[in-house]
Amino acid sequence: MMKNYSIRKKLLFIILGNTVLTLLAGFATVIGYDYWHLKGETLEQARLMARVVAGYVAAELVFSDDEAAIQTLGLLRPIPDLESASLYDAEGSHFASFPSSLSSPKPLPSPNPSANAEFKGGNLYVVQPIFDQEGRVGTLQLCATTTTLWAETWRHVRMLVLIMLLLIALASLAALRLQGVISKPILHLADAARSVSVYGDYGTRVTRIGDDEVATLYTAWNEMLGQIEHRQQEQARTETALRRSEEQFRSMIEQSRDAIYVIRDSDPFVYVNPKFEELLEYSLEEVTAPDFSVQTLVAPTSRAFVQTEKAKRARNERSLSKFEFQCISRSGRSFDFEVHATEIEWDETPARMGILHDITDRKRVELQLRSQRRQLQEDAEQLQRYADELERSNRELDQFAYVVSHDLKAPLRAIGNLSTWIEEDLASVISGETRTQMNLLRGRVGRMENLINGILEYSRVGRVHTKVREFDVGLLIHETVEDLGPSDQFEIEIAENMPTLVAERIRLGQVFSNLIGNSIKHHPRQAGRVEVGVAELNGTYQFWVSDDGAGIAPDYQEKIFVMFQTLQPRDRHESTGVGLAIAKKIVEDQGGQMRVESNEGSGATFRFTWPKRPPGEPGQPRSGQGRTKENE
């Protein structure tokens, strides 16, 4: 019941209640104590006086002087509220009483009672035995009312009650004032709480006063509200973010270029996106209608797949999450899809989401590519067959050349020898002209031998591989020049920056030998100059041999590399016409190229490229064809 009262009332009640109770208790104690004390005093006083008078009045009893006794008893008058003082003789019979007008003196409790003083039935009784030297002579009994005692006490009570009322009044005033110290802040807080709950104004704050528990409550309250406000704002922010995110995702799904569906194991679809609707030509309402069967969209080629996957799921095995699938649209159009399936939760139940990526075109292209590849493979096989045949015929050709030249050289030698022998045998009879012709014959034979050697050499190049070594090109060139043995008038300048190569030394030597030899041989003058240089170009070396000879007219620049072609009649220079062809073949065999830069009358520069490492090593193409971009 008290629970429903305001705090102010409660506090007042407590404080006043406490005060009143305390005062009551205190005053009651005081009164009680005073009363008890007063009683005791009264008793003691009466007893004392009785004792005194008893000692005094013995004589009266002894001498039975009742008149005198009454007078003596009168000494007891000061005892407040004395009702009677009676004397009794040794036998307990009444002797005398004061006041003498007493009608019925109170009897003794027993003939010779012992001294006693007590309050009985609202009266004070004192019994005092009277002795003289010889023994007990009688008893004195006093009887007094407690009227004064009560009156005194009552007066006391009234006074105290008055004081108490005054104190209570003062306490009430103080309490009224003091309860505010506690109740005001709490009521203020209660008001604030009410305003928050009614108006929802979480911005309300209370000002903290002081530093007690209520102040702590205030602080906590403010903090709490602050947190609520903060959380509200956060929540609003989160909601906005969530909404935005939802919109984003929604637009992602709805604007996706892929068709997206959500399905449970049983028909129909749970959701499809607009792209799905567009491609397969069914609306969302149609595919999510209860009577729609998903199978409608499945192309016959994929039906088996659907069954397999369903069975897998039924056995609680994992079904494929990425697979290809064929669908049929409403109008019968066929689609190839690459499907990415995921287990998701839709409306808090498990479902599967699939993203259908249209790969119809891709599939078509794939098919094309496949047939193309097949075609290419056939072509490649064909090419390989050609290459093999080519190689074979090359080999045969080389062999043929080798064999033929060998077989051809033997008779030639025989012819030479025979001619010599004939000449020796006919030394006496042949003419000078004949001898000249014989020499010519041997010269021709020699030429033919050279030709055959040339052919042989030509056939060797590329067929017979010499040792691959690391060597200094400069050194090689110097050796080559030495072997060529040009006249002193010829200046052969070799560049300083000749590299070191790993290659078939002999072959490169052959190239330089041919080029430099040609330059020397075909120089119109006795004195000439040949320069040999090198440059690094695109990861290969480009060497050049340039002379200041006659030069080569553009018309013949192609021809000179052809076998057996010479610019001058053969007999002028004794060249087989094979040298350049060989040199070119050697270079091309290494994967390089040779060309000439020249103009008639202004010398010629033969340039050729040579790889840093021989072909056939890792990183280098096998034969001359198909070089990497680095070269050239």
Binding site: E60, S64, D65, Q133
Partner: protein, 183 residues
């Protein structure tokens, strides 16, 4: 008829006499008791014992014939007076020597001359004189017992006589007495 009346008269007469007799006896019992009680309120000076110690008896003498004598005997029979055994002696009026050995003397009614002589003898001795005759206190008896209007026993004391004897009377005793001066 006549016989019966005379019997009742006789009865009544006897009753009156008996009552009177008993009341008369009662008076003397009381007087004897008073005498014993007086002694309680009076101190004899130590010197009066003389060489005597507590062993010697406390003597109450009765001069002249009085009913008090026999009652006194009864009173002192069972008790000690002042811690000594009490004796009651009957003395003749002229036995002054006997009187001198008493601590208390009860004087019955006698002639003025005898009284004066006796009192003259006891005047300055520590002897308590008690009488029950009218006017004797004035004559010098220390304590005289009388009956008041209501026939209650009262007593009067001659203070001057008391002072002369050297006996010490309790104020309580004096208080109750009618004080009497000399004549």
């Amino acid at each position: 008829m006549r016989a019966r009346r005379s019997r009742s008269v006789a009865f009544w007469l006897l009753l009156v006499v008996a009552v009177n007799w008993s009341s008369a006896s009662d008076e003397y019992i009381l007087k004897a008791q008073f005498v014993e009680r007086f002694i309680r309120f009076i101190d004899w000076p130590a010197a009066s014992q003389g060489k005597a110690n507590t062993k010697s008896p406390f003597v109450i003498g009765v001069v002249g014939k009085s009913e008090v004598h026999e009652h006194l005997l009864a009173v002192v029979a069972k008790r000690k007076i002042k811690g000594r055994t009490a004796e009651v002696r009957l003395l003749s009026i002229d036995d002054l020597e006997g009187v001198a050995n008493c601590q208390v003397v009860f004087i019955s009614k006698c002639s003025n001359h005898d009284l004066t002589t006796l009192l003259g003898f006891t005047a300055e001795k520590p002897i308590l004189t008690v009488s029950d005759s009218k006017g004797y206190a004035k004559n010098g008896v220390l304590i005289n017992i009388y009956l008041n209007r209501d026939d209650a026993c009262r007593f009067e004391i001659n203070r001057n006589a008391v002072e002369r004897t050297g006996l010490r009377f309790s104020s309580n005793l004096l208080r109750l007495a009618r004080l009497v001066g000399e004549e």
